[in-house]
Symmetry: C2
């Protein structure tokens, strides 16, 4: 009861977890012990999600089973589509996602199971809810792009992988294989990152034995904050501000001289290059090589990256995961305001893994406060105030 | 960086706060220094909400202004009603509330303001958002009762107080004055209670500078968990299980002998009687005296209370706030599954006060973990697993 007060609980352990780990000195992020660079190259989102949920790399039948379950849960009830159609098209996409996911809970139920501590043992229930949520969140995000433009959404297909189907629904046509590869790797790379604010919100909400839809809606709300998700959207704005490739170097010098934020640069956890950025950087180069005409914005990004590495690399500040994902998504034609929802359809795997871990050894979160307010006050009638 | 790991962050200070305080030894709960017993008797929900938000008892013009703002923001757009009409009538009311509040964010916007740390100073923005949310949440809950029964909801009136209007919308007729008095006191008594799980979730979500609709939706999701809100619903189930007044004493002895939970009894924060329970107990007696024929369930509750006080009082375990609110709401004809949503339309005042306080000196919540998982694993191809 004598714990020190540390703002933001910085450095305060909030849980024991075996889901992911970061070695900031060496620049390693690992899910269940598996290096993210290896997963991005060799695994898929489906396999990585199951690895996060179950704790081990699946066997072929396990993965096949999970994949079939995901494919079977892609469809969205027309009432949920109606709910989305009633939302203003000018609204923010993360609020749309929170609304739609919260509504899922009313259609798919499940809270009854979560009482009196039996939930932690009910792996089957936890697994089936996880499938429902992971699968439908990508449907919701892809459908929103059509609905907000006034069109009926593209129905999901069950003959495609998770990443393929998401891009198919978004674009309404069979997606380019390299795009699918990049999207799949992005989903793998964003799926988990230890105890950040949105994951922590999921744990706090889950600790009350709230249903998983409520839990994921709470996490979505938290990821939506500009201090958490959304940095890759700022990267795009920054590139627009720079305007042309030849401006990149001078723009950077000017920003650095004024000590202003360079979006997509540096990460508090990593003293060396963010391992996710290394993977995405390779893909960015690969993408650039396959496209005949590079866009001016892409050229600007390459120039800025060079300039940043030269000036900031020696100080341990490198382009991070948001820098490259922002550029890649833009080049792939994805609307800027869907970047954070796409982050969410990946990170939901990590949120659900932490929800499951929380339930396996649950205690409700109830920290204390240091009271700094008034001691006993006397209520004054209105005419005496 | 050497903090001890305490499950659920029990005893770990997560914030400095001047909103409310509990003296568990003396049985005192105070909002901004004002004893809750005095507020329940002399104040109103409107005044108490403003006290929580602004930190001081309002002057007459301040309160008048706030009251007018609340009255002006009661109406719900027909699109939000359409969203509610698309939700399954069998769904849980807290998930309905989370969905509807999340959707409000798309209609009323405001996230733009919350960037780069200016939010904490923008009291006007914070205040106007607080009004929009407090006022509409009670409309949403009252409307849901009609919508889920297949009827068009009752439109709010602007010539009634907050508690009056809520009961009017719920019942579709001018409410009984004693009911209004009890409901108003219940809203005052539930508005704030230091750092519990839902309030903490609001702080975590708010610390990312997420919009207030996202923040309150996260808190609603957390309150919905059976370990947090919902104990007063269990009280009603318990009374049904007991069945008849003459069974109460024997039922209690049996439960105590088996060391089973008695819902609505005891509170971890209070060593003596929960001060909120004292107020509600008086009102329960008052309600009982004004009703000609007491219901069997009400008689059962009175008998169980006597039995509990005799057996558990000497051990410091008394009927708590949930015990009396459950009984009062039942006697007032409120459906059991609206108890937690009614808790939410009161507690939202506290959540918003903590949101505002968080923004005034913000640091994103990012606790750490104790990693207990695998060290580096070698990715195995499928055929080698």
């Amino acid at each position: 009861m004598t714990s020190e007060y540390l703002p933001g609980l910085a450095g305060v352990p909030a849980t024991k977890s075996n889901i992911s780990s970061i070695n900031g000195e060496k620049g390693i992020l690992a899910y269940r012990g598996y290096d993210i660079r290896e997963l991005a190259e060799k695994s898929t989102f489906e396999e990585t999600a199951l690895l996060l949920l179950d704790g081990h790399l699946p066997t072929e039948p396990e993965l096949e089973d999970f994949d079939q379950q995901l494919r079977a849960e892609r469809r969205l009830k027309y009432r949920i589509r109606s709910i989305m159609k009633n939302l203003p098209t000018s609204g923010r996409s993360m609020e749309m996602l929170q609304t739609a996911v919260a509504s899922l809970g009313m259609f798919y139920g499940g809270e009854e199971v979560l009482s009196d501590g039996i939930a932690g043992n009910d792996v089957e229930y936890i697994h089936s809810m996880s499938v429902k949520i992971i699968s439908r969140m990508s449907t919701i995000v892809a459908m929103w792009e059509h609905i907000r433009n006034g069109y009926d959404p593209v129905e999901p297909r069950d003959d495609l992988t998770h990443a393929e189907n998401f891009l198919y629904m978004l674009e309404g046509k069979d997606p380019d294989p390299l795009k699918v590869k990049i999207m799949d790797a992005c989903l793998v790379l964003h799926a988990e990152h230890t105890i950040n604010a949105s994951t922590f919100a999921a744990m706090v909400c889950g600790s009350t034995l709230a249903s998983p839809f409520l839990v994921i809606a709470a996490a979505i709300g938290t990821l939506a904050g500009p201090l958490h998700g959304g940095a890759n959207e700022r990267v795009v704005e920054m590139l627009k501000e720079i305007g042309r490739p030849e401006n990149a170097s001078a723009w950077l010098d000017n920003k650095l001289a004024k000590k202003e934020v360079i979006w997509g640069m540096g990460h508090r956890e990593y003293k060396t290059k963010d391992p996710r950025a290394i993977v995405l950087q390779k893909m960015m180069v690969e993408w650039g090589e396959t496209q005949g005409n590079l866009s001016s914005q892409f050229e600007t990004a390459l120039r800025l990256e060079e300039a940043c590495e030269a000036r900031l690399g020696p100080k341990g500040v490198y382009p991070n995961v948001d820098y490259y994902s922002g550029i890649l998504y833009t080049e792939m034609g994805i609307p800027t305001d869907l970047f954070t929802p796409i982050f969410a359809i990946s990170r939901v795997a990590g949120w659900l893994a932490h929800w499951r871990e929380q339930l396996s050894d649950n205690r409700i979160f109830r920290p204390t406060q240091i009271y700094t307010g008034n001691e006993s006050q006397c209520y004054l009638d209105m005419d005496k105030r």
